[in-house]
């Protein structure tokens, strides 16, 4: 994978550093125990595991790196960044457009459903904690079934109304996504705890580089080259025994 160098990917000198409480809030919502069901999703990884294609730490890192750079960076991460901006602008039409786009780019049914399930769990969990009229308006649209409630869009809005910087919203999302995958692989393959820890250690650096790419992207850059993973997600529906729902 091509990566930008450290100077250009380290945005901490341009992005607004989170306050102490914002930092802890981000830690909390990305904790694997945060009840939005991350531990039930493999996004096609389980198909690879069953086909015996993820047997080593290196293969696990390779899978997560492709998911990170080829799927998340050019998909959810752009949408989070755009939704964050739209929420700051209080631009409902733009958010509705992004919400629709978020579903349209997820061709595999299970990955699309996962995005909605996480979103619905997320709003249920955080809504008692957020006091913001704009956030409530979005919540009401989901409750009224006007929109599906995709996680990336909701998460972008949540970070915006809590004045968290878009860069940190994207960075923590990317890290927690690959961290979640590794945690699930440790259970499913299975790997030893240390293999998981070492994989996440490597992937943290990739997440930093990936977030550095996202900042220069817009809606026009949305794409998905991770066709192997997408196909695995499509095939996952028909696996005979499954630990994960995607």
């Amino acid at each position: 994978m091509k990566q930008q160098n450290d100077d250009s990917s380290n945005l901490s000198n341009t992005a607004a550093i989170p306050t102490d409480i914002q930092f802890l809030r981000l830690l909390q919502i990305h904790d694997s125990a945060f009840p939005i069901g991350t531990y039930t999703q493999s996004y096609g990884m389980e198909t690879y595991i069953q086909e015996d294609a993820i047997r080593t730490k290196e293969e696990l890192i390779a899978f997560c790196t492709t998911f990170l750079y080829q799927n998340l960076v050019y998909g959810d991460a752009i949408l989070i960044q755009e939704a964050h901006q739209a929420a700051k602008d209080r631009d409902i039409d733009r958010l509705l457009h992004l919400e629709n786009l978020c579903g349209a780019i997820k061709l595999a049914k299970e990955s699309r459903d996962a995005s909605v399930n996480l979103g619905r769990q997320f709003i249920k969990t955080v809504s008692p904690l957020v006091e913001d009229a704009f956030f409530d308006e979005w919540k009401n649209r989901i409750a009224a079934n006007e929109i599906k409630g995709h996680y990336a869009i909701l998460y972008g809005i949540y970070c915006a109304v809590n004045s968290m910087d878009a860069h940190y919203a994207v960075l923590s999302y990317l890290f927690s996504s690959v961290n979640g995958l590794v945690t699930n692989a440790v259970r499913a393959v299975p790997f030893g705890q240390n293999t998981g820890v070492q994989a996440v250690h490597v992937l943290a650096e990739e997440a930093v580089a990936a977030a550095g790419i996202v900042v220069g992207l817009t809606e026009a850059d949305i794409s998905n080259n991770a066709l192997g993973i997408e196909l695995a997600s499509m095939k996952h529906e028909y696996l005979h025994s499954r630990l994960f729902i995607s």
Partner: protein, 269 residues
Amino acid sequence: MVSKVARRHHNGKLDMVFEPRRGYTRMPHVFQQPPLKASRELYEGKDPTATVFVMESSGGMVAGDRNDITIRLLPESKARIIQQSALKVYRSHTGETCVQSIDVELEEDSRLEWMPEVIIPFADSKFQMETKIHLKKGATLLWGEIIAPGREMRGEVFDFTSLKSMMKIYVEEELLAFDSLRFVPDDIHLNGLGLLEEALYVGSIWLVSEKAEEIDLRAIHEAMNVGDGLRAGVTRLAGNAVHCRFLGVNQWRLQQEMKRVFSELSALI
């Protein structure tokens, strides 16, 4: 040798309108500008479906060439469009990108089938294709496409400079599916885990039909003749739509299986 003489770009245009007339679908309005050309309508027995062949008389697209195709099916018309040959995209000696744009409008209860042909991006070519399909209520679509890695038999595998493909399907003005591929072989290892892996050919089928709900996708999935370098999957899109993807090592094998699935789906809708 690189020619210093500026070459005029080709801008192929093809605008086709189909409508039902006296029991058959006709194509009374067609505008064509070389190198694009459409055959007249052909029929198979009593089937009212108009079959039209699309031809590219130049032999391929060269740096900066454009092809603009619009297809409009008026209510209750039925058409099948077949590309006469593979679409070749030549080396971009000027650095300019070749663009193919296809806009399709399917009105109420119309039906369009676009048979998959292969797009072959030669070494050092730049190609961008954008397909937009708008469907009204009751319209049926079956669409296929195949992307090759280059002239594989000559050892050209992912030697093109860039290939961008965008497919957007709208039903009643709502975006249902958006497939966007950006293959820039200098930037990404397309054979990496989770990308194409050992596959060289990418095939896609798109189906929109009011009968989509009734299709047993598990049966389609289980009947797929995979293995031996071919992988395939089928999934339900939002609304009345289905998507199949094929990743294959061998072109002939992928094409044969895609044609089989295409016919199988065609018979169900």
